[in-house]
Amino acid sequence: MDKPVVNQSTIRKMDPVALLKKNAMLIILVLVYIFFTAMTGGRMFRPNSFNSLINQNAYVYILGCGMLMCMLTGGNIDLSCGAFVCLLGAMGGMMMVYWRMGTPLSIIALLALGIAYGCGLGALIAYVRVPPWIATLAGYLAFRGLGTAILGVSSTNSISFRDSPDFLNMFSGTLFKTPEGEMNWPCMIVGIVAAALVVLMVFKTRSTRLKKGYEVDQLAMDVAKSVLGVAVILLVMYKLALSGGIPTVLVWVSAVVLFYSFITSKTTIGRHFYVVGGNIEAARLSGVNTKRVMFIAYLNMAVLTTIAAMTTVTRFTAANADAGKNFEMDAISACVVGGVSASGGAGTVLGMVIGATLIGVINLGMFQVNLDANYQRVVKGFVLLAAVVFDILSKQKQK
């Protein structure tokens, strides 16, 4: 096997200021977490808090991936995803509970509905050139009303899924369940394997880049990244192991996040999203089918909304008219806080995950300290405003 060629010029010098700027959100996340852990007397560090964080924010991670793809194309958003979750929940309830279609057929029908909506929305935005915020605003206004009308068949305006255990177990519950407080060894083994894969990936990437003569970070940086990754994974999996096992929804979230991480960083179609958002005219002149990229962004968002809808209704074991409320704003906030540019062309899945986790930690922390609902709104507003101002100032400094 050939030894990697290492030239001095291929090793990136470590700039502490640039490092701090690049990892600002991660540092803020750690500080906020420590702050709330101290404020709650350690309750944030308990196993069930980790479980709650994942279960309560699963929809943000899933929708955040879709919103990221839309925002990459030029700061475009989807305002209809929350209301679409309500409609899909209502339709799912009708199919499974009233029409007795069975779980597999109902899931296929819901996915077909999501794909149909995504195709229609994508065509409207990409080919008819309706501005995305107008096209999706129509959905925002219409779908909740439609969902509420469908749920009107029940006197309580909600449909329970308690008689569909297959559906509930597919998207909620726990894998390899054990009593709380007892060590769940399958969960720990999954954590150890995941941690080992992270280390392998970091050093494989380094080795590949060195062979090709690309610039790499100093070895200490890669070691630090690996240690941090391993520590976070093992801590989270240890806490989940003590809280009863791996939440089923974590499997879905991990699959979605890893898939989109791969798409955005390793595939041509993923790069096309960045190019379209960076300069749409240059992308078009370079041979990128910009209309197709826009179409795929909104089709993709609709499919992810369908998955998020299924995780949401199974979490509450019922479809109700309030399902999906403010989901679109949570997804947009996760992207903006995670460093996705409001004008498109920049942003990563990892950034969105950090943004979503930060917002989740802030929400959970405020809930655990019993902060008044009005103060919670103020905090959310300031966090979003700070993220947008940070984005604007960064762009101005670049210019």
């Binding site: 915020w133 704003m329 947009i332 008044d372 609902a373 009005n374 709104r377 507003g381 979003l384 405003l385």
Partner: protein, 74 residues
């Protein structure tokens, strides 16, 4: 920017609606103050967004004029 501005206005509206709610510990004048702050911030973001959009429009016009000039020279 426009969407963030709209969300800030929505938060301001919720604060204003809840200022006299019985189960809140936030004094009404604080709720109104924060609401006004958020509306002001939203206004600032909307002005910035409008300036960027206007600048983009002017750049498009300059680009078109340059292309027309090049075409007429050919």
């Amino acid at each position: 920017m426009t969407v963030v501005a709209a969300y800030l206005i929505y938060i301001a509206w919720e604060l204003f609606q809840d200022q006299n709610a019985p189960n809140t510990s936030m004094p009404p004048w604080v709720a109104v103050l924060f609401a006004v702050l958020f509306v002001g911030a939203a206004g600032g973001l909307l002005v910035m967004a409008w300036k960027l959009w206007k600048k983009g429009g002017e750049e498009d016009k300059e680009e078109k004029a340059r292309k027309n000039e090049e075409n007429s020279l050919k």
